[in-house]
């Protein structure tokens, strides 16, 4: 009996070891690629190419689409900050997704909007909005009021209304740095290929002082859970995604701040309601469309357009957020399974897709089981001490190294936290994040995957990040 248990543990340990080694090899490769691209980009960005872009008459216009559902606290400030963005030609489309609070009323009051019967071309099937508001004194701003249909529906309505060739999705509770849109557009204009998506970085605004939709004083949050998330965001956005972008195999961009080519999105069918993370699904749909029509294209991720967002402040909210992301990732992967191991999709199919499927989506179940079973197997004698320590080293030591490396990279290139004190705190949390926090998040994520297999397909579909933090703004 004990012998059989040990056999089983031997097998699970082999799986865990494989998982850890594979994950860390991929992380290391991504880290090297990221170091290369991020520092190259930093050198390039030092020459301030954005002024040309801002002055040029041919810089493509961009529609900023802001889906909003019950955002009365944040919406006016968000719109003000978007109107303030340094960009030559832009339109701002706020899509009110059937809010039950006074989101629309606040906007009408602030900008003196009135309902207008404007042309609405239904390129994507959405149904006509309930009302369109506009004020010629604010020619850039349009407000659409649609029936409550979820974030993908709101985004599709915004796309139908947009006149610009590019659009940028912006979450209603995000604060975008004033140069960020220019920086996001730069890769599109620089590229020799058609760039259909350009994604930016998301940072955590907790702890910062916010006035009139601008960050006036940068500071770190105070609680451990927010600090751990700060380090985690720095790590994933600086060490993961630039690496995939360098391989032209981006699988995830954050819908909180992401520039997309409108025609391609419409051709690809727009945002879909199949998953709870429509942003990831959109990338996959675009890849399907582009591959089917044999078009050359790029999906670009850049590290200096920064968008600040509120992160969950309690463990309960964090758990909900992570379960939802994981559920969405699993849905997206299983929905777009024909990309897997398919050379038609290049490195996305051969590398990025399996990585996200087995190391990110399903891997977190392995990691969660490993967190529990490896100590168990050591206790029942299934694993000698040396092997146990190697596992612990891989699980904790290497993670710490990556986190600390990403904080260093942040300080070298972006320097959003210039004070020495901030760097010291971030370094300390780069270590602490790997002890406790990461294990906790892994368990939340594993729950998300299990929820998928338990048949939970739609779960709080419309609730996106910031909405989970009640009253976080305007302070």
């Amino acid at each position: 009996m004990h012998d059989i248990l040990l056999r089983v543990l031997d097998y699970t340990n082999t799986v865990f070891l494989f998982y850890f080694v594979a994950a860390n090899i991929v992380y290391t490769i991504l880290m090297i690629l990221s170091l290369y691209t991020v520092s190259l980009h930093a050198i390039w960005a030092r020459h301030k190419p954005y002024k040309d872009l801002a002055d040029s008459p041919v810089t493509p216009p961009v529609a900023l689409i802001v889906p909003a559902h019950n955002e009365e606290n944040a919406i006016v400030q968000t719109v003000l900050s978007l109107l303030d963005l340094n960009y030559p030609e832009k339109e701002i489309l706020v899509v009110d997704d059937g809010s039950t609070d006074s989101t629309v009323e606040r906007l009408i009051e602030k900008f003196q909007l009135r309902p207008l019967d404007l042309i609405y071309r239904e390129s994507l099937k959405t149904g006509r909005p309930k009302a369109i508001y506009h004020n010629p004194e604010w020619p850039q701003l349009f407000v659409l009021s649609v029936k409550h249909g979820g974030k993908p529906h709101a985004l599709n309505s915004g796309i139908n209304m947009a006149r610009s060739p590019y659009f940028c999705t912006v979450d209603a509770d995000c604060i975008i740095e004033s140069d960020a849109l220019l920086r996001l557009m730069a890769p599109v204009t620089q590229s020799t290929e058609e760039t259909v998506v350009s994604g930016g970085i998301v940072r955590i605004a907790n702890g910062c002082t916010i006035k009139e939709g601008r960050i006036t004083k940068l500071d770190l949050p105070k609680t451990w859970i927010e600090l751990c998330q700060t380090v985690e965001y720095i790590r994933t956005f600086l060490f993961g995604r630039p690496g995939w972008s360098a391989l032209n195999a981006t699988f995830i961009t954050s819908g909180a701040f992401c520039l997309l080519h409108k025609e391609s999105v419409i051709k690809a069918g727009g945002f879909s309601r199949d998953t709870v993370t429509e942003d990831i699904d959109m990338i996959a749909s675009l890849r399907h469309y582009m591959a089917a029509h044999k078009r050359k294209y790029r999906i670009q991720f850049t590290t200096d357009p920064i968008c600040w967002t509120e992160a969950p402040r309690t463990v309960k909210m964090l758990a909900r957020q992570r379960r939802r992301w994981q559920l969405g990732l699993t849905q997206t992967i299983l929905k777009n399974q024909n990309m897997m191991f398919n050379p038609k999709y290049g490195l996305t199919g051969l590398l990025s897709m399996p990585f996200h499927a087995y190391l990110e989506a399903l891997g977190c179940v392995v990691e969660a089981l490993g967190t529990v079973l490896i100590p168990v197997s050591y206790v029942v004698g299934g694993m000698p001490l040396s092997m146990f320590l190697v596992f612990m080293f891989l699980a904790i030591g290497y993670g710490t190294l990556l986190s600390m490396g990403s904080v260093v990279l942040e300080e070298i290139t972006l320097r959003r936290y210039p004070k020495l004190k901030h760097v010291m705190i971030l370094m300390a949390y780069a270590v602490l994040e790997n002890i406790g926090y990461r294990q906790m998040v892994t368990i939340f994520r594993a729950q998300g995957v299990l929820q998928y297999f338990a048949g939970r397909k739609h779960w709080e579909t419309v609730h996106h990040k910031g909405l989970e933090v009640a009253g976080a703004h305007g302070n």
Binding site: H2, L334, Q337, M340, Y358, L362, G382, M383, G455
Partner: protein, 284 residues
């Protein structure tokens, strides 16, 4: 949902990956068994150094096979490396708490360094493997250490029939009966204990003197004594010599220097009492 999931490349890929890992774990990766078997053969040929190197190779491949870990323990035991042997026996017991060989190994280690081993556990193994000379000898030693000399002697007597243990058993019996150095045959049992019918008081201490009773009269008795303990030159105090000749010589020399009393502050090996008996019988 069930059928469509099975057609899903992502799921299929995952299942394939897990199967491949299973194949690797159970078939493809180097297996420890050949090394274990050659180590076992070398151990049985009593080539312990070679056995150790084969077993170490096997252990590096598979650290969780309890029979392998136990054999490593025994090899170290035979090479007189008790600390390493203890590590492997303990590990084997951790992997498989009911491992008899490892339990015997732990008992042997304890008995070897003069400690006690739990007789109940050994008895249980004895019942499972009746007549096994290895278990029998360990249990006998454990009985003796526990003070159950007659039980131990019975087992040793049975072991006299075994060709590997004959020598050991007869030495142990001679020690138990205090016969070493004397040419008596080993008796078939311990002499029955009988108590004298009347208590007799041959000595007393009173009026600042020692007195001895001789044919009913008390007479003063001058004590010229020797304090006699187990701490013999060349031996540890806990491990006194068992050869009766040593004690006979000491007693004779004590006698010759006109000492008339011998004080013993602890129990000495049976051969001492045997020698004492001989000496007093010869002296009086």
């Amino acid at each position: 949902m069930g059928i469509s999931l099975l057609r899903n490349r992502a799921i299929l890929g995952g299942i394939l990956l897990l199967t491949l890992l299973g194949c690797w774990e159970f078939w493809w990766k180097p297996q420890y068994r050949p090394y274990y078997q050659s180590g076992q053969a070398q151990y049985l040929r009593e080539d312990y150094a070679k056995a150790l190197s084969s077993l170490k190779t096997a252990y590096a491949i598979e650290p969780n096979a309890s029979e392998l870990v136990t054999l490593l323990g025994w090899t170290h035991f035979k090479l007189r490396q008790p600390e390493k042997a203890r590590y492997y026996f303990q590990r084997a017991l951790k992997i498989e708490p009911g491992n008899e060989e490892a339990y015997l190994g732990m008992a042997a280690l304890e008995l070897n360094r003069g400690g006690k081993a739990e007789t109940a556990g050994l008895e249980r193994i004895m019942r499972k493997r009746p007549g096994d000379p290895d278990v029998m000898s360990l249990l006998a030693a454990a009985y003796v250490q526990d003070g159950k000399n007659s039980l131990g002697a019975n087992l040793y007597r049975l072991l006299l029939a075994d060709k590997n243990y004959r020598q050991n058993a007869s030495e142990a019996l001679e020690e138990l009966f205090g016969l070493q150095g004397f040419s008596d045959p080993i008796p078939s049992s311990f002499a029955p204990l009988t108590r004298a019918e009347n208590t007799r008081v041959p000595f007393r201490a009173t009026e600042n003197s020692m007195w001895r009773q001789e044919s009913g009269n008390w007479q003063k008795y001058y004590v010229a004594g020797v304090n006699f303990g187990p701490g013999t030159p060349g031996f540890f105090g806990s491990d006194p010599p068992v050869d009766g000749k040593v004690y006979s010589t000491y007693l004779q020399q004590t006698w010759q220097m006109n000492a008339n009393v011998m004080r013993v502050y602890t129990l000495l090996p049976p051969s001492f009492y045997r020698a004492f008996k001989d000496a007093t019988e010869a002296g009086s």
